[in-house]
Amino acid sequence: MKTTRDCLIFLGQLAFTLLVAAFLIVPAVLSMLAGITSNYFLGVKSGLTLQWVLQVWELYHDTIFRSFLIAFSTLAVTLAVGIPAAYALHLRNDRVSRAVEEIITLPLAIPGLAIALALLLTYGGFSDFRRSWLFILVGHAIFTLPFMVRSVMAVFAAIDVKTLDEGAASLGASPWRRFCDVIVPNARPGILAGSLMVVTLSLGEFNLTWMLHTPLTKTLPVGLADSYASMRLEVASAYTLVFFIMIIPLLTAMQVFAGYRGAASGPKR
């Protein structure tokens, strides 16, 4: 009796899971399928083709490279700024540092469009800067920094980094040596989690980027919007397909890397 009930519950859960998965996956699959269909209105029977994908590549490959360039530059900036910032904030832990932490976190609550507008108002006059991809980089760095700082600070709070720092200092290590030898290696899980978030967010960021871009500094999501608005449905879908092909191996690789390094640094406490 009990087993029948367990069985029913299991089947119910399975069905629900599959349903949810299907709800999410089917549109993605259809969309990607559309990208390799000769004529979407006639359906798959019109034949499969790579012509749309090639067309996307020709039209938009620069946006793909730019997106990756911006994503990894954003990562570099948030690493260089975020880890020392998290370290300093954690060590000070007074009213000033808590205020700074709140300010850093603020961009999460402000719509991307508002940040973009503020950047345009402030720096729009520097036309060379305004026209380069660096302008978008600044927006992305502001937007993603809190994710890096927060996840690194979470690790610092968990490992009593202050005592570790004092321990290293008592052994003669300068502040810089302490940072490299003890602080960063022990904050690695947080750094990896933060990096994953920063890269993902930067690659997919649309609001802010859309406001900041120029015709010559389009990123992948901006290009996508552009193609949805002005191209054949098949082209837009092929673009989505390209996006998936680019981002899924990247994210998988980063996850595997994080998991591997996490395992190497031992069991989680």
Binding site: E166, G167, A169, S170, L171, G172, R177, D181, P185, G266
Partner: protein, 365 residues
């Protein structure tokens, strides 16, 4: 043992001069404290929680700066403004602060690596310390795979690896269970003697302080209450606080008349000089007298100068401790051998050698 003569005598003479500490939030953690520690000496800072032991230790280490006017001298050189990483101290933290990203030998060798010691020398020194602290075979373990006692040993080995001028230990055994604590206390004692290093050891455990210290500094509310050898502190406490904090003590407040204490339970003769000293030459007056439970003997009540009634008896293992009422204002504690039959309600006589009664200076608390 060529390693040993290099190890020996690596301490400095240490001087703490008028070091006070007021924290940013206004907490006065330390009144101006002056303390001299000889080369190779082990000094224990002992006192109740919050009395400023850790603060004083951190000032010596260089993790806190003393208020203006305070100075720290290592071998007469003023190091007050020198940051901890250039003071050449070794430190053992209560939580050990081992680096989770390094294995045991990398932890021990970190200070040597920082000092640019060659890999071969480093290996030799690590091997020496691993043997000395009894953790051979664990060199390649990750530190989170060690037991509490093993971590404690690694922390100690790491702290002394680079032959520091001063070894500073902040309650290094507190995180361990009682049996292990006692064993490690013995090992630590042996190690400190072997190394001949100048050491400051913080604890709130008086047994630990007695066992380890060449001298004990008893602290109270940010100030030094007494400095002395364990025997001084135990047998000749400077005041009531020290007497009660170190070991068990009966404090009797009573009228003194011509060298005799007048108590509700009878009379108690003092040593001549003790009474005179306490009363500044006057023959009579109120004084505080301290008697340790183990220096009181139970005798037959008939004809005894001091008598009382047993309130309660508790068995402590190697002896029994009785509380005797009716002798003084409050029950007094007496250690009684297990062979002496005694039970609540018995009338007993008490006898104390005049030499075992310590007259204390009139004390604030």
């Amino acid at each position: 043992m060529s390693g040993n003569d290099k190890t020996n005598g690596h301490g400095v003479a240490l001087r703490v001069h008028a070091c006070a500490k007021t924290f940013a939030d206004g907490t006065r953690a330390l009144e101006p404290v002056t303390l001299d520690v000889a080369r190779g000496e082990t000094v224990v800072l002992l006192g109740p929680s919050g009395c400023g032991k850790t603060t004083l230790l951190r000032i010596i280490a260089g993790l806190e700066t003393p208020d203006a006017g305070g100075r720290i001298l290592f071998n007469e050189a003023d190091v007050t403004r020198v940051p901890i990483e250039r003071r050449n101290v070794g430190m053992v933290f209560q939580s050990y602060a081992l680096f989770p990203n390094m294995n045991v030998s990398d932890n021990i060798g970190y200070g040597l690596k920082i000092r640019g010691v060659s890999e071969a020398e480093r290996k030799a020194r690590i091997a020496e310390l691993v043997a000395l602290t009894g953790i051979a075979g664990l060199e390649h373990r990750r530190v989170d795979q060690l037991s509490g006692g093993q971590r404690q040993r690694v922390a100690l080995a790491r702290a002394v690896a680079a032959r520091p001028s001063v070894l500073l230990l902040d309650e290094p055994l507190t995180a361990l269970d009682a049996a292990l604590r006692e064993r490690l206390r013995g090992e630590l004692n042996r190690l400190l003697r072997t190394l001949g290093i100048t050491a400051i050891y913080v604890t709130h455990d008086q047994a630990e302080a007695m066992a380890l210290g060449d001298r004990i500094v008893v602290m109270r509310r940010g100030a030094i209450a007494q400095v002395g050898t364990p025997r001084d502190i135990y047998f000749a406490p400077a005041n009531r606080f020290v007497a009660e904090f170190v070991g068990a003590a009966n404090i009797l407040e009573a009228e003194c008349n011509a060298g005799v204490l007048l108590l509700p339970g009878g009379r108690l003769a003092l040593a001549n000089d003790a009474a005179a000293a306490a009363l500044n030459g006057h023959a009579n007056g109120r004084i505080f007298a301290m008697i340790r439970p183990e220096s009181i003997r139970i005798i037959a009540p008939d004809g005894a100068a001091l008598t009382g009634e047993v309130d309660s008896v508790s068995f402590v293992g190697d002896r029994q401790r009785a509380a005797i009422g009716g002798v003084a204002g409050k029950p007094i504690m007496v250690d009684v051998p297990n062979s002496t039959p005694i039970k609540a309600g018995d009338r007993v006589g008490l006898s104390v050698d005049p030499g075992d009664i310590r007259v204390l200076a009139g004390d604030t608390a």
